[in-house]
Symmetry: D2
Amino acid sequence: MKTTILIHCPDQSGIISNVTGFIHKNGGNIIYIDQHVDKEAGVFFMRLESDFEKNIPIVQSLKQRFEKELALPYQMEWSLHLGSTKPRMALYVSKYNHCLYDLLSRFHSGELSVEIPFILSNHADLAYIADQFNIPFHHIPYSKENKLAAEEKHMSLLEDYKIDFIVLARYMQIITPKIIARFPNKIINIHHSFLPAFAGAKPYHAAFRRGVKIIGATSHYVTEELDAGPIIEQDVTRVTHAHSIKDFISKGRDLEKIVLSRAVKLHIDRKTMVYNNKTVIFS
Amino acid sequence: MKTTILIHCPDQSGIISNVTGFIHKNGGNIIYIDQHVDKEAGVFFMRLESDFEKNIPIVQSLKQRFEKELALPYQMEWSLHLGSTKPRMALYVSKYNHCLYDLLSRFHSGELSVEIPFILSNHADLAYIADQFNIPFHHIPYSKENKLAAEEKHMSLLEDYKIDFIVLARYMQIITPKIIARFPNKIINIHHSFLPAFAGAKPYHAAFRRGVKIIGATSHYVTEELDAGPIIEQDVTRVTHAHSIKDFISKGRDLEKIVLSRAVKLHIDRKTMVYNNKTVIFS
Amino acid sequence: MKTTILIHCPDQSGIISNVTGFIHKNGGNIIYIDQHVDKEAGVFFMRLESDFEKNIPIVQSLKQRFEKELALPYQMEWSLHLGSTKPRMALYVSKYNHCLYDLLSRFHSGELSVEIPFILSNHADLAYIADQFNIPFHHIPYSKENKLAAEEKHMSLLEDYKIDFIVLARYMQIITPKIIARFPNKIINIHHSFLPAFAGAKPYHAAFRRGVKIIGATSHYVTEELDAGPIIEQDVTRVTHAHSIKDFISKGRDLEKIVLSRAVKLHIDRKTMVYNNKTVIFS
Amino acid sequence: MKTTILIHCPDQSGIISNVTGFIHKNGGNIIYIDQHVDKEAGVFFMRLESDFEKNIPIVQSLKQRFEKELALPYQMEWSLHLGSTKPRMALYVSKYNHCLYDLLSRFHSGELSVEIPFILSNHADLAYIADQFNIPFHHIPYSKENKLAAEEKHMSLLEDYKIDFIVLARYMQIITPKIIARFPNKIINIHHSFLPAFAGAKPYHAAFRRGVKIIGATSHYVTEELDAGPIIEQDVTRVTHAHSIKDFISKGRDLEKIVLSRAVKLHIDRKTMVYNNKTVIFS
């Protein structure tokens, strides 16, 4: 039975040997360990993949002992995930289809170990892609007038379908603070610039005006401040004076879909932790 | 006799055929032509490498005819450079040696077709490198009190040595408006961030705080507004949560020297033109 | 009326000015010109985008005059393409869907100015994607016994649908010499290695065994010699000792689809020319 | 007292917890741990940085206990390095100066924690750089006739100066089997291609002939088979049809020096292990 344990706690001597000793003592074999110490903040982070020859009921007692023997004394925040459990992902889109197609074709090829209970959009345009892939599509238009009603519909869907995290695949509408608060570090956005340069609207236009020689895309967790959440992944590509804004947009599409897919995969594989508005990305 | 002609003018039909016809008619063979139209601004840019079987005195009459037959009717701003003329470059440094070593070892290997009449610094630390390479070193300390006197010394050196352009190889002092005005689009700086992100002081510290996954370096022409001049070249490298600010600085050094050297080479080869605070970089 | 002219001929003085003069004289406005001289082979290459205020019938006489005034005296091989004509592309696939999805979603977004009359496969697996995008799907199984019959069916389809070029989107079957001869430099393959390293079968396995730190993908025109045709585009991505062959394959998929799409776009935009088993890629 | 421990052994359950437990029990604080399992070969690799509040004499008894309690039962090959010990590096060069300047300027800036007892060359050309940096220079010409005598001189120098590892900074002469056997996985070469493509002589010429769109450089440990040793680091850069062989060489220089410096730094920081002709590169 494969498990992944994520831990963060104040940095102290002996954590690694005590945690690895605990796993060994309880019949687990450590497959992979990665850790990080944020020296400025004095915080220790660890991710452990282990293999236990045990069934799921026994996991409960394991968790209780971990809590008592390690988490309490070391003041750990921690979580244990069973490899057999697929997280449930809601896909939000608007009118652009490139990120959606990219995620769905990866999902379809078995590259992403995830459930996709529904696709949600503020526009009807991409309903046909949901049809192509046989995934329920919810069209919830958004206007100043229906703001509260729309938020309520979102919340109902997210709760009814037991959604674990949300992916904004070029969803061009603000996520409300209530939803952000309900899914902390669990809403993944793709912004079409190399953040923090060109946050906000029309980043390709701004990049063109500034005459940059490289453009980028950034995937980050959504926080209340626009485009300012913890960065998960970034990538860039070269441009020249000969490229028009239209060319920037076209080249950017390839970046956006690759960067978003990488970030989604890291999240699904539980390789991300967030601290002080920054991510630790485990290998 | 190799020549490079740079032209920009309002975009009109027939420029290419008229200019190439002029060169052909005057015994020149076109080796390479690159052009660009800024459609928004309606401006045409061209760079032509040609080979004339003529000696330098004849170039003068060629220039006069070009002025009359082409530059005037098409309202061109243009310049003609003889391949045999090496531009004269002043090297400004402070305490970091990596960009200086990189430029000097390229110069020494014949990679940069340039004269380096002197190295100038506001500190004495790198005088030994000037010695290693047998290049005069001028130490002009800078303080609030000697501001004007220092500027005067700079101007004298730049004039006496007939400097064509200045390279700031991690020179950590503001260039005065008077010098900038005297060398428009002829002062090349290297900024240790992916501009426009992290302009100003301590960009690696700012990048670290923001938790970016990629850092960069930018070479640009100096204008009065800090780190806001026309970008010549940029490049980036990956970082992770595991890298400290010290690591950023160390990885950044490799970017800085490569990006600055590329920009200097483009400038020397007369492959840059500036318009609307942006560069056209010819191939 | 937008036109693209492609030319190659022995390198001589005066070609650029004569060709641009011809276009100007005939009422054309040159939008973009790019040229290259292969100095070793003494061959001149040029690509010209022009705008003529003329209708298609007049193009015929233009072509005749170009042939007489320029092509004959300069021994040019040349072609003229109207911007309004979309080339017709046959898509060949086997069992992997990532390149197919990528090309079809770009096609669907209007990114590729092309017709796709059919998708052909030696397996039935991906018929559902052809259905998703409403494109005819032809399943032509391949075995030693039906070799000739299969080739004939291919030829019929290619002729009947007036196919201009073929894209092998991870088509895992040899293309017969007869088809290659019929479509010279018009069959685009994607090979999942950084050619010339790891030509042939199972390149990711070979790369893994050699312990490389970077893997690549290469798109090239198909010639009779396996994986040895003119390279159109390549790209690479980093790997480490921690990546398994499965990881190589997964990372490679992202390379393959991006590299193939770029090559297909270059071909559609008529930005490729082939000479001496190498490509000139115009900007 | 900082120490780095490198271990490899047959993969078994419990190694991590036992090793980390041993360090904790002996008063060490684990700063960083990185490990890897080669599943095909069934081999476990680990690198541990620890901080002991102990002085060097006590290290000896620590090593004895480690040997008895861990190394023997787990059949480990292992080594322990004190952070205060700088490895001693011999620099071999021929006529190109770019890698030499790059390494020496890094050394001079304190970037490389190493001793450089001497520079050795089969040519006298770069003696002046050794002078610039005040490092002894040994000129040992090489010819078929003096082969054995030269090898003897090399061996004497390497022994007399207690050299730990050798860096071939574009040294254009074969290293003899005897020297390779004496320094297994301790001779670092830079090859100017993206291996395994273009092994052997004149790789830029071969890359140009094949028409590749990307060129590379590879740093590897030297083994008897030419350019076939374990790869430490690789990097690449784009080229186009417009680049001549001379351009390849010039662009390649920047790759070579960066790739070699990275490999040297990884070796100095004891972040490399070799197994089955492949490297594990620790983070």
